[in-house]
């Protein structure tokens, strides 16, 4: 083994890395930072490394051409030995990375780690989050399937809302007049050179500052951060009640990173890669484009915004959110770190987390979208047709044929864009139903032009039968008593 030592000494004499590395890994850290809560940053770093390695391996085969990318991925999935597994690792790695980065950010926020002197670490972290999301979006484009194609259309449509320079911005984004070969080429450059390059530089600065400024000490209620005293307090804490970062705190990072890598590999092996979904031919319009899970919340928000608010919201809220995150350490750079003394921070985090969860959940089943084939695939449940007159049954046929089911459900089947109609007759009188059908309103299109008087009559006669047994339909309070007009519900 002596020759090994000699080689090491020969290299080290010239490289001189031992001293700085020792200083970095053996520096004392407060004992209370060796916590399982502090493992997410290093896990995010590990995942970034995994993404780089699997990304390079995929780049050995991938063809960034709009004409061939899709077939190329199909080949990777089915023909190249274990190509599917590498695609799976890269896909699941990206999902885990977004999740771990978000958890890391939430933890850092909750632990007040953005306060003095770690303001810049936080600010760079904010941009690291944006870069991670940028990688996620551009990575989705690399799949170059229908979701990627129409997702780019959504991106372009969002940019087109910028006043004055919207048009040029759209053409810059997609690299030409339409989403095509040039678009994939530039998103490939973004995904493999520009964003990862920036990401690595920012990560280096982020980690450098963690080494230089020390890991955030465990927040203790009643021990607020003061600019004048913090550095001395931290120094005392890490030297009097501390231990070397390596191995005392590092072993937890190592185990968690290993577990995350194992989880990615298991997901890749069990669930496999995602997509590519449909072939990116824009003339195939029978498609329901959807973003990957990390953008589902945005998909939902864009569906729920009132039309008047859409452009102002899209143009200002993301910028305000980023500005708020960047400004956070400047207006809250001192004071209590502990969540026990920061109710507003805890509330904000909880609200954001719940909103994120709710919108993401809504994004998985898109209740705002018409179900395009409900009218032809989901028949009117039998129970609604019992003992109906021929005219009412004709109404049920009109109800199906005019695609009402695309937006309205019966017995929980059908679209959820409009209200369920199982008991619509208890809410609207016959006259109100006629008006609603013909004139629309309340987010319903007017059907006046597309229904003949006979169809309207039949449809409304059917709708009037839609009320629970034993419950009377709605009546006009100003009119004559209802019992004579509408007999009680049929059983």
């Amino acid at each position: 083994m002596r020759w090994l030592k000699q080689i090491y000494n020969w290299v080290e004499f010239r490289l001189q890395l031992q001293a700085p590395v020792e200083e970095a890994v053996l520096h004392p850290v407060p004992r209370n930072t060796a916590s399982w809560w502090y493992v997410f940053g290093s896990a995010a770093f590990t995942l970034l490394m995994l993404q780089i390695v699997t990304g390079i391996l995929l780049a050995l085969v991938y063809v960034p051409s709009a004409a061939n990318a899709w077939n190329n991925l199909e080949m990777l999935n089915h023909d190249l030995p274990l190509g599917w597994f590498l695609r799976g690792m890269h896909f699941w790695g990206s999902n885990f990375m977004v999740a771990v980065v978000l958890i890391h950010m939430a933890q850092v926020f909750l632990f007040g780690a953005y306060k003095f002197p770690r303001e810049l670490t936080w600010i760079i972290g904010v941009f690291l989050l944006l870069m991670t999301l940028g990688m996620a979006f551009t990575g989705q484009v690399m799949r170059f399937d229908q979701d990627a194609y129409w997702g780019l259309g959504i991106g372009a449509s969002i940019l087109s809302r910028v006043p004055l320079i919207g048009g040029p911005l759209v053409h810059l984004l997609i690299g030409g007049p339409i989403i095509a070969g040039a678009t994939l080429s530039r998103f490939f450059a973004l995904h493999v050179f520009i964003i990862p390059g920036t990401l690595l530089i920012l990560v280096a600065a982020h980690v450098w500052m963690v080494l230089k400024l020390g890991i955030n000490d465990w927040p203790m209620p009643g021990r607020p951060v003061r600019r004048a005293t913090y550095m001395a307090e931290y120094h005392r804490l890490s030297h009097e009640d501390g231990f070397p970062f390596f191995p005392a705190a590092f072993w937890k990072d190592l185990i968690f990173s290993g577990a995350v890598l194992a989880a990615v590999a298991v997901c890749a092996a069990v669930f496999g890669p995602y997509g590519p979904t449909g072939f990116p031919d824009p003339t195939i319009i029978q498609t329901v484009p959807k973003p990957d899970f990390y953008f589902l919340w945005l998909y939902a928000v864009l569906a729920y915004l009132p039309p008047e608010l859409e452009t102002p919201f899209i143009l200002t809220v993301p910028l305000l959110a980023i500005a708020f995150l960047v400004a956070l350490p400047f207006f809250a750079g001192e004071g209590e770190k502990s969540w026990h003394r920061r109710p507003v921070a805890v509330l904000v985090l909880a609200t954001v987390a719940v909103a994120f969860g709710v919108f993401t959940h809504l994004g998985t089943f898109t209740p705002w979208s018409p179900i395009m084939n409900a009218w032809s695939s989901d028949t009117v449940p039998e129970k609604f047709l019992h003992e109906l007159s021929p005219l009412e049954r004709q109404g049920a046929v009109v109800f199906q044929a005019k695609q009402c089911r695309n937006c309205h459900s019966l017995d929980h089947v059908g679209g959820q864009r409009g209200p369920a109609l199982d008991d619509v007759a208890t809410r609207l009188t016959e006259d109100q139903l006629i008006r609603q059908v013909l004139q629309g309103g309340g987010n319903m299109p007017a059907y006046g032009k597309n229904l003949s008087p006979a169809e309207t009559t039949a449809l409304v006669k059917f709708l009037v039968t839609l009320h629970p047994p034993g419950q009377r339909p709605a009546t006009n309070a100003a009119g004559p008593p209802t019992a004579e007009l509408n007999p009680p519900a049929k059983q």
Binding site: S65, A66, A67, N68, W150, G153, A156, S157, I158, L159, S160, R161, G166, G167, P168, V170, H171, L172, I174, G176, P177, I178, I179, A180, G181, T183, F279, P280, D281, P282, T283, I285, T287, V288, P289, Y299, L302, A303, P306, E308, E310, T311, W368, S369, P370, K402, Q403, C404, N406, R417, Q439, G440, G441, N443, M444, P445, A446, G448, K449, N450
Partner: protein, 198 residues
């Protein structure tokens, strides 16, 4: 080996030789690099801005086929090859659009892209509506907004009939600021509300 750092004390700013000569040469070096940088930046910026062209530069007349391919009173899907395309575009150079034949020589040609966020809208002849699968935008047969998040009607292409052929002026992805027609026209009177909203 001599460590150059140890010679540092000799080179001070007070040293008249350094001030007059080496500092000036350093500044000259910075200046040359700055000049080259600016000179090179110009072509780089021009190269990067290549996709940005003046309004309408991407548009040209493309044919959708003979007029009798579109029966009167009906709305049919038509496709065309984008006039600006490259061999490596593959199928993405193809573009669909909706053609509504109103009467003899009156047409409406709608972009496939929803005016909300560009998803492909589908025509339902039975209910006479265009519906968008993404965020639930709905339009009437004439392209005006019926309901959902779009704040305006569908994008329309300019069309003309040459001989027996229906032609449209097309070439770029229609969005709010790169409209198919290159004219701003809000089809709906009541912005954000259906024409019949009560």
């Amino acid at each position: 080996m001599t460590d150059p750092v140890t010679e540092e004390p000799k080179v001070t700013q007070d040293d008249p030789r350094v001030v007059s000569r080496r500092w000036m040469l350093l500044k000259l070096g910075v200046l040359i690099n700055a000049a080259v940088g600016v000179a090179v930046a110009f072509p780089v910026v021009r190269y990067l801005l290549a996709p940005v062209k003046r309004k309408g530069a991407y548009n040209s007349w493309v044919t959708l086929g003979p007029v009798d391919q579109f029966p009167m009173g009906e709305t049919r899907l038509a496709t065309y090859l984008n006039p600006v395309n490259e061999p490596w575009d593959g199928d993405t150079a193809k573009t669909p659009c909706w053609v509504r034949h109103i009467d003899q020589s009156t047409f409406q040609v709608f972009a496939i892209n929803c005016a909300h966020l560009g998803c492909p809208v589908r025509w339902f002849p039975q209910s006479g509506l265009f519906m968008c699968p993404c965020h639930g935008g709905v339009y009437y047969a004439d392209g005006s907004r019926a309901s959902g998040p779009p704040e305006r009607g569908m994008f329309e292409y300019k069309y003309r009939i040459v001989g027996n052929e229906l032609q449209i002026s097309a070439g770029q992805l229609p969005t709010l600021s790169t409209e198919a027609k290159n004219v701003f026209r809000v089809l709906n009177n009541e912005k954000g509300r259906g024409p019949c909203a009560g």
